[in-house]
């Protein structure tokens, strides 16, 4: 059974600092997705990571995937207040399973001025 664990679940940080959110998944899955959710809003796609060693960057956010370690990271560089949101990772589909995504619990990120 594919399970996805994110940590931390809550992160409060100062502007200008760097930090990393971790996403571990329990069984083989070649693909990892990162989403952002603002309060009261729906989910917006950030990154799609499709193979081992994949790295994607957009502004101050960088995501990477290590399929051997079953780990993806979302790194925030020199955080700014606008990045405050909840970040979700999702893996899938599970091998031999239907086309569905398995979601982490989300990391609520608060960036203080």
């Amino acid at each position: 059974e594919l399970k996805v664990e994110q940590n931390p679940l809550f992160l409060s940080m100062q502007e200008g600092k760097n930090y990393t959110i971790y996403c571990n998944y329990s069984t083989t899955s070649d693909r990892l997705y990162w989403y952002r959710q603002d309060p009261g809003k729906s989910l917006e796609s950030l990154f799609v990571l499709l193979s081992n060693g994949a790295v994607k960057q957009e502004g101050r956010l960088m995501a990477s995937l290590d399929t051997k370690a079953r780990l993806s990271t979302l790194h925030i560089t020199a955080a700014v207040h606008d990045l405050s949101a909840t970040y979700f990772c999702a893996a899938g589909p599970p091998k031999g399973g239907n086309y569905q995504l398995i979601w982490g619990a989300g990391t609520k990120l608060i960036i203080k001025p």
């Binding site: 070649d30 086309y99 569905q100 979601w103 982490g104 619990a105």
Partner: protein, 113 residues
């Protein structure tokens, strides 16, 4: 540029009512999903559909049913609404794990009184 549209943004219904939540996608995707999102519980899959008239139960199908008569439309039905079904409901559409992300609708915040 709208890809996934949910019929209502906010909905208030009475206990015992039959409630229909509609979701339409314009991307010709086979796979569509209904999730509910509650504080601290992340995204929980209610049902998903991988083809017209095909459906599979997710993690929390009790009290819900779905209908997919046309490829672009996936409906979530609360047969007899209860207060514990007060939640944010999110519909998503996905071509599959080949290249792209899943797309989400704007969400329906349902309150059952």
């Amino acid at each position: 540029d709208v890809k996934v549209t949910q019929s209502s943004r906010y909905l208030v219904k009475r206990t015992g009512e039959k409630v229909f939540l509609e979701c339409v996608q314009d991307m010709d995707h086979e796979n569509m999903f209904w999730y509910r999102q509650d504080p601290g519980l992340g995204l929980r899959l209610i049902y998903f559909s991988y083809d017209v008239k095909m459906k599979e139960k997710g993690d929390i199908p009790e009290g819900y049913s779905v209908s997919r008569e046309k490829k672009e439309r996936f409906s979530l039905i609360l047969e007899s609404a209860s207060t514990n079904q007060t939640s944010m409901y999110l519909c998503a559409s996905w071509v599959g794990p080949f290249s792209t992300e899943a797309f989400f609708g704007q969400g329906t915040r349902l309150t059952v009184v």
